[in-house]
Amino acid sequence: MATLKELRNRIASVTATRKITKAMQMVAAAKLRRAQEAADAARPYAERMDAVLANVAQGFVDQGATAPLLAGTGKQDTHLLVVMTAERGLCGGFNSSIAKLARVDAQALLQDGKTVKIVCVGSKGVDNLRRDLGDKIIDKVDLRGIRRLSITDAESISDKVVAMFDAGEFDLATIYFSEFKSVINQVPTALQLIPPKLPDVVEGDAKDDGTTAAYDYEPDDEAILDYLLSRNLSTQIFRGLLENAASEQGARMTAMDNATRNAGEMIDKLTIAYNRQRQANITKELIEIISGAEAL
């Protein structure tokens, strides 16, 4: 049995830990609100972009599209996995669940004899994947210094991806991120970017506009499609980053809430053990005194 002093020290240290986790939880809650606002604000753009892209691209698919960003290279040999994780830990299973999904997919692809290349966004992905797939990681993007995600950050990633694609370094690209469902529920998601899974043309769209989608294109349809496809890429990556940011804070909030509660339980248990020990000591001393007195 631990001595009284040891118990006292442990209670003090767990109390200090509880203060820290409590503070982290509150910080995460504040950051979560901001991250959610950012994700909500970005949603209209992505929705409109999807709608326009669906309309424009559909015409091209019907004609037998040739743009590689839309149709792919025709091969499926080399896969690029863009794994987006957080820069920090202490957020429950957030980072590891994304990495796990990516790892499972990567290993399945390797089994099929495909080549896999990995770009890690956020340093935790590197930490998680280094052991099994370290030689597959070809690049990492550091988001550490960024306080507020902007579209420029997503653009720099998508520029990198497009440059690699143009250089013929891969055939298919998929991003891995965590979709924010709620504070307690974040779903690791894989989304194929190249070639894109096109959103379906909304059936009712033509009706409520009163027009069919027979657009004039300026300067020409190919320029529009090029622009749309590259924008779509950075928009999707941006969306992934924002969802990830919200998920990370949500996961951290939940994790820290649990940690705070566990610390509380631990303090209660330790306090009981401490009081028992103290009582036992007093009883022992009393017995010693009484038996000493009786011996006289």
Binding site: P44, Y45, M49, V52, I151, Y215, E218, P219, T235
Partner: protein
């Protein structure tokens, strides 16, 4: 007589800047500025740097500076997907100076790339017209 209106939306990747009924919109299209009224023919166009001029009902209006983007117009709706948009009211002279110097850097880096040069030059001239 009040004019017929259509739905106008201006969204940037980071937020929704404007949404509502408008009477007319002037858009800096890649092949030249054009004005959109209700029942405009369906068109999709990329944008060049410039100012979007929106007239809302009851004589209200707004101006937005965009660097690039895309506009989709059909009979009852005009949607601008801007890459980088800013309400002209929010652009003070410091911001404009900063943006100009940024564009000048781009121009300096453009080298022989004619498209990039033209783009940067247009950005600068459009920004200067706002001062």
């Amino acid at each position: 007589m009040s004019q017929e209106t259509f739905t106008f939306e201006l969204v940037s990747p980071e937020r929704l800047l404007a949404s509502g009924q408008a009477e007319s919109v002037v858009v800096p299209g890649a092949d030249g500025d054009f004005m959109v009224f209700s029942n405009h023919a369906p068109v999709v166009s990329t944008l060049r740097p410039g100012v979007i001029d929106v007239v809302f009902p009851e004589q209200k209006s707004a101006r937005y500076f965009v660097k690039a983007g895309l506009v989709e117009v059909n009979g009852s709706r005009c949607t601008v997907l801007a890459q980088d948009a800013e309400d002209v009211k929010d652009l003070d002279s410091d911001r404009i100076t900063e943006e100009i110097s940024q564009a000048e850097r781009l121009l300096a880096n453009a080298g022989d790339d004619h498209d990039a040069r033209a783009l940067a030059e247009r950005t600068i001239s459009q920004l200067k017209s706002l001062v």
